[in-house]
Amino acid sequence: MGSMVGAAVIRKEDPALLTGRGTFVDDIRLPGTVHMVYVRSYLAHARIVSIDVSEAAAKPGVLGVWTNADLEGLPPNRSVPGMERPCLARDKVRFVGEPVAVVVAADRYAAADAAEAVLVEYEELPVMASVEAATAEGAVPILDGLESNIVLEHVLSATDAEAELAAAPHRLAIHLKNQRCAAVPMEPTVCLADWQASGLTLWATTQTPHHSRNELAAMFGLSQQEVRVVAPDVGGGFGAKASCYPEFILTSELSRRLRRPVKYVETRSENMTSMVHGRAQDHEVEVGFDDDGALLALRVKITQDCGGWPDATGIGLPTLTSFMAGGCYKIPVIAPSFRSVVTNTTPVGAYRGAGRPEASFMIERVVDHVAAELGLDPLDVRRRNFVQPGEMPFATQFEGIVYDEGDFPGALAKLLESIDYDALRADRDARRDDPAKPLLGIGFSTFVEMGGFGPTPLFEQFGYVGGWESANIRLNTDGSAVVKVGTSPHGQGHQTAFAQIVADELSIPFERISLVHGDTAMVQEGIGTMGSRGAPVGGSAVFKAAGKVRDKAMKIAAHMLEADESDLELVDGRFSVKGAPDQGVSMAEVAVRSFKPHLLPDGFDLGLNETAYFEPSNLSYPSGAHCCVVEIDRDTGFVKVARYIAVDDCGTVINPLMATGQIHGGVAQGIAQALIEEVRYGDDGQPASGTLVDYTLPSAMDLPRYETDHIVTKTSFNPLGAKGLGESGATAAPQAVVNAVVDALSHLGVRDVEMPCTPQKVWRILAQKAS
């Protein structure tokens, strides 16, 4: 590979974003645009008795008010068959925030005013805002036509591992909770629909424009060429923008009816109940192990809270959790099973890591529990059970889930180079006897997760047409290049990373390569950006397309130089005969020649314009070892992250600057899950965390300076060797932090602290132990 891949190149994206010249959906201005605002349910479970829109409809500037009854024939959002969610509540509301009606007015303020004037009469129904309530004896089914609130049950192993658990010298039952979190991208959901005679254009905050196009076309009975979905600059997504939202369908339908562009801009408070939440899993674990800490059997019963409507992506999450239950360990038998439960809460979907952080948290907490039970060092238990590098590829017991490359002990060894573990432990022990000092705890997380989603058979299960990605590279006659990719970045820096790949492969200056993405009218087929697939799958498609362009350019150069292709090399933007660098032609000359049929071999296809699809042969498995050191204030219970050290193995690093940024961001979200964030509901289903005042996001004061490093084992599943890393930080961090918190309190007999480890919770434990 050339000199660009692996270099810490600063980003092409930045100048526009830094000068206010980015284009987010709400920045797009179309003449005649009108604004849609929802009337949302303030009750968690109720029958809709009546909706009176007359006062609202009469307000100045209002173009109309619609309820479910007014949208006869509008298809519901796609989901599990039989559980599709209507765009506006029909007969019943199932969670606080569920849209009941929409108002369209000339401006946003007028629409909001009118929405307030819509009168909805409800008859309250029993609220089941938790899995316990929704599965209690006599709980009424929230979804019509179902017998209970358990909407999906699945056992993923042939055995329940009872025999192995019973035979193990030690057996431990552990309850773990992965609390409900909100993704909170800084840009909420926004969309702008413009239905013209020629078809529908939707600008939307989405991670998956092509997928959204396919869904909208199917819903409206349009052909896909009549639908254009554009994701311009998108202000973060973290998985939550991979779902299709009712507003995408409603603005489209209302634009069709009103013959005007219709825009919807969610407020943050709406976003907190409207955008899918993540995690929301409970784990009942049993683990069997021997005196040395060798893990012999693992059983995990997962309960997934799905919220009020099963989300098309969200419904598959516990499957991924089950697949990754064994982490980076050899466990002879693993018995996962799950049930997904509908509750009167916001639907649950993908959130950074989507199913894998839950698994990693579980197994990494289990390992620490085992160590505590046996009085062993948690690192020794990890080392005893690691899958060794020599055992790669390692087939887990789940079909198709094969770790291809990784060095779990190597990552841990590298991590230990940056910390003085003995000194930290000594400090921890010394502080226990010194009430003047905060308590200190050390926590580890040796993790493996899934990246590079596909391949197609897996991704089909989430409703996508495939698990591949596409790239097209076109050379202009001046030798500059335009790249079109099917990924849809929203902060990941694909313009920069993919230009680095093309620069190396085609020897074109980085500055002369631009990227087009996120527009189904411009870009060939694509899947999108999620599941840590940008670099491994999207990048590999770019790499492959560049190879095709290079091959064709080489043929033209050989013709021009009257030389044999095999004698040519491409160096510094010039094709020349090996050993005779002065006889050569530049890429620009070749590009010009590619458009001169009379100067090319007979029948030669014009242009340098090649498309490639890359299908990964499997998922990749990013891994690593993280360490967190916490200090706990004895008087307040406040947990401070004193150090956070991350060693990651994402395979080939395309841009170390951006790779570090991805790790930082993921770790920040993981730390926040461990210490701060939780979506909470009252028994009445009222959100207790419905604004950014109550759902606290970490600020710069709450987070540490991160220490990061890499080891590199390249995946064999794609030509770049990149495994993906967008989700690694969020997957690794929660348990590193919680393990550290528990370690700090372990001398008090504490074995577990539930996330988030808030000051109140930790203080209560300290107070209880003191009395």
């Binding site: 600063i10 980003r11 994206e13 930045d14 100048p15 526009a16 974003l17 830094l18 000068t19 206010g20 010249r21 980015g22 987010f24 709400d26 920045d27 201005r29 946003r108 303020y109 909170v184 991208p185 800084m186 840009e187 909420p188 600059d233 998108v234 202000g235 973060g236 973290f238 801009v265 407020t267 943050r268 408070s269 929203h490 902060g491 990941q492 820096g493 600057l657 951006m658 570090t660 940024g661 930082h664 961001g665 993921g666 770790v667 920040a668 979200q669 604004t691 950014l692 005042v693 996001l697 600020s699 710069a700 004061m701 987070l703 300076r705 991160y706 930080g729």
Partner: protein, 167 residues
Amino acid sequence: MSHHKISVTVNGSTSDDEVESRLLLVHYLREVRGLTGTHVGCDTSNCGACTVMLDGRTVKSCSVLAVAADGADVLTIEGLAADGEMSPVQQGFQQCHGLQCGYCTPGMVMAATGLLLENPDPDEDEVREGIEGNLCRCTGYSMIVDSVRWAAEHGGAGDVAARHTAH
């Protein structure tokens, strides 16, 4: 809803507009003045995405009514790159990868500029404190801190103060 005539200077250009009394400054900037670089990230004054400078001080423009800015001098992200050259803070963010999705970025850059006007050489803790009112969901803040430190070493707030007093 009552309407008011206001006259606001934004990035050196003054305009007279009639606005609803309840119109927020951020919406005035975005909808009336067409300056969409200033973003909205919340409805509780928590996120800072809307941060601009009002008469030389940073404010969250979602917490200021447009009518309250009558006669004021506003600087937004669009006005920061004087003559097309990015300010030291903007450059710092690019050099140190202080942004990913870029949604919090305009507010963050304005907050950092305001911080450097008050304290030209903040240490890490002071930077963290100075940008505490601005939320970023992408970066985890470390590289934002580096960006601001970079700016402090390469010209600080730039010529913002000078340009502001010029009006």
